[in-house]
């Protein structure tokens, strides 16, 4: 069997700040096969973006990858020299950011930006590069792409800019795309368009897609697998249906329970008490302990990630193994 497109193993990315070591990512593992979508979910500060940046080799000082592996078709990106990483980034592995202006240069026309991106990794003529750029815009549903190529980013709406950023990510038909909350700032009507493009993309080119979001409902409809992060760690992972219908980890169950549509209209929402802990002074043992209704003395020891059902892992010593109606 050949290696999966992307396999993140026990990734640790820490920031060595003056206030102490921020363990932003502290034991994250997941696998994405070609043509599949992995939903990486968690609340703000749980380490999703830093995980994405680590995969792209974009973590800057005071941060660095402190452990683990990022295997891209079996090759470890965590230890790859920057020169080689540059050959992959934007080419075989691309990122879509929450703010499309992270990708777009406000003072350059769209065609300039796209053509440069094509020429950075492909030995083709300028004309061919323009043709590819045009096709990529068409692919993400931008009307009259020839005209649009001549526009500047500020002439587009937020949703269109995000689609241009996606088109740029697509230029080299990458094997892996990491999309970091690309629809969070958009209206549901436009979000629907972008999710449709994402689905088409995986199906057509066999791209392995990591879709980062805090919205469980988006993951439910889009992803094949899911990894739930809490305080820098993946606390539960597995196939979407299993994790959402029969969550093992009390945090996953709490998250699902607090989605309004999972509650009777007008009745109090089930809520997780307390708030997410600061990464600088995490309690010893399970980080969810102070908010967990199932906590027991044993939870003061760090719980290991364990496979409780085929393909479904949880970092909890006292998971919900009985069938729960979430």
């Amino acid at each position: 069997m050949s290696a999966p497109t992307l396999e993140v193993r026990n990734l640790r990315t820490h920031f060595f700040t003056r206030g102490g070591v921020v363990k932003a990512v502290d034991d994250v593992s997941f696998t994405v096969e070609a043509g599949k979508v992995m939903g990486l979910v968690g609340e703000s500060g749980s380490g999703k973006t830093v995980t994405g940046f680590s995969i792209l080799g974009l973590v800057d000082a005071p941060g660095r990858i402190a452990g683990g592996q990022i295997l891209f078709k079996g090759r470890d990106l965590a230890t790859l020299p920057e020169a080689e990483m540059r050959g992959l980034r934007g080419n075989r592995i691309a990122m879509i950011f929450q703010d499309p202006m992270m990708t777009l240069n406000p003072v350059l026309r769209i065609d300039t930006q796209m053509i440069e991106t094509v020429l950075a990794h492909a030995k083709v003529s300028r004309e061919e590069a323009r043709q590819r750029s045009r096709d990529a815009l068409g692919q993400v549903g931008i009307p009259s792409p020839d005209e649009r190529l001549k526009a500047y980013p500020h002439q587009f709406s937020g949703g269109m800019r995000q689609r241009v950023a996606i088109a740029i990510a697509l230029l080299h038909k990458p094997d892996v795309i990491v999309a970091d909350e690309p629809t969070t700032a958009l209206d549901v009507t436009i979000q629907g368009q972008i999710l449709a493009e994402a689905q088409k993309l995986c199906a057509q080119f066999g791209t392995a897609l990591v879709w980062i979001t805090h919205d469980l409902s988006v993951v439910a409809g889009l992803a094949d697998d899911i990894a739930v992060m809490y305080a820098g760690k993946v606390v539960e992972s597995g196939p979407v249906t299993q994790v959402l219908d029969a969550p093992l980890h009390p945090y996953t169950l709490g998250l699902i329970g607090s989605v309004p549509s999972r509650n009777r209209r007008g009745e109090p929402l089930r809520q997780i008490p307390g708030m997410t802990p600061s990464l600088l002074n995490l309690p010893a043992g399970c980080a969810f302990r102070s908010r967990c209704p199932r906590a027991e003395p044993g939870c003061a020891e760090p719980p290991p990630m364990a496979e409780y059902r085929p393909g479904q892992h949880a970092r909890c010593i006292h998971p919900h193994q009985e069938a729960v109606a979430a």
Binding site: S44, S217, G221, L255, R265, E267, Q271
Partner: protein, 345 residues
């Protein structure tokens, strides 16, 4: 308990309106910036543009109701909310506070109406003065308006904080020392401190994490029961709106396109825009569904389409839609919709 939260008063015994909007419009003229003025003087063909943020809108909110207001970005929700809260004047039309035109109120009455309506914003941090302690933020207005005696302001503030779910022991801290959810609670305590009847919540939970969002939504519902509050709840999150509204108002480009009791809107949407919107809401129950998206972009309010604003994106548009603005007409009990298709039947 759930009756008191969701039941709409029977049509016969409607509560008195707390606020009514009649033909209300709000226009903003986008004045040219410095570069634009120079360019114009040099002969460039630039003119001051007018945004019709709210366009001839009627809306009634009755005492004790929770009205959810939804629509795409830029459709005029915040503008409408600010006019309802009395912090922005209308360009046209009248706004009635308990049956009386705001323009006819004297200074004391206007002040009273403004105090009774409080607004809660999306970004609690931006709306809290960073240099004031929580006790000052919450205590300032009630002290000024004489709602608590000098010696009792401390215990008055404690009560507001406790009601908003904050430990009064933290009242000597500054806003930056709190989490996002806690800051939203400070904003709520500050609003409650002037004893409002009506809260306008503009994306009040949008910036919060799911688990914290549930805590704040529960707080809003509890306060409604305890203090008999009326809400205009502005949100782009249809799941949230469905959960806590009695009635839902859907806006598109400055106009109301549909309004109905919440269950009715979600079960039997009438307007093609509402239907399209509901179809795109991601649902946690759905698995590997095909997304589609409403075709087209949100049009610019600078140059809205003629006739029915939705016609360039509407799959059912016909000739009349391009020329005539559809009126908001009854299509069922307490259910109104603005679509020409309803006339054909």
């Amino acid at each position: 308990m759930s009756e008191t939260l969701t039941a709409l008063p029977a049509t016969e015994t409607l509560a008195d309106p707390i606020i009514e909007l009649r033909g209300v419009s709000k226009r903003f003229s986008k004045t040219l910036d410095f570069a634009g003025r120079i360019a114009k003087r040099l002969g460039a063909n630039l003119r001051e543009e007018v945004v019709h943020a709210v366009d001839g809108l009627d809306l009634t909110i009755r005492k004790g109701e929770v009205v959810g207001l939804v629509g795409e970005s830029g459709c005029g929700k915040s503008t409408l909310g600010r006019m309802v809260a009395g912090i922005m004047p209308a360009s046209e039309g009248s706004i009635l506070w308990r049956g009386r035109d705001m323009k006819s109120l004297n200074a004391a009455e206007t002040r009273e109406a403004k105090l009774r309506t409080q607004m809660i914003f999306q970004d609690p941090y931006a709306s809290l003065n960073p240099r004031l302690k929580v006790q000052e933020i919450v205590g300032e207005a009630p002290q000024f308006h004489g709602m608590a005696k000098r010696g009792e302001i401390g215990s008055y503030v404690d009560e507001q904080l406790r009601r908003a779910g904050l430990d009064p022991a933290l009242k000597a801290r500054y806003p930056h020392q709190f989490s996002g959810g806690q800051r939203q609670r400070i904003g709520i305590a500050r609003a409650l401190a002037v004893q409002p009847e009506f809260l306008v919540c503009d994306e009040a939970v949008a910036a919060l994490d799911v688990s914290i969002q549930a805590q704040i939504l529960n707080l809003f519902m509890k306060l409604r029961r305890e203090l008999d509050l009326t809400y205009l709840f502005i949100s782009h999150d249809l799941g949230v709106v469905e959960h806590l509204s009695d009635r839902v108002v859907i806006m598109y480009l400055g106009r109301v396109v549909e309004e109905a009791p919440a269950e009715e809107v979600f079960r039997r949407p009438n307007h093609p825009y509402t239907k399209a919107l509901l179809a795109e809401v991601p649902r946690i129950e759905a698995r590997k569904r095909a997304f589609a998206g409403v075709k087209g972009e949100i049009p610019s309010p600078l140059d809205p389409p003629s006739g029915c604003h939705f016609h360039p994106r509407c799959p059912f548009a016909f000739d009349r839609c391009r020329v005539e603005r559809p009126a908001l007409r009854p299509v069922g009990p307490a259910h109104r919709s603005a679509c020409h298709l309803n006339d054909a039947a």
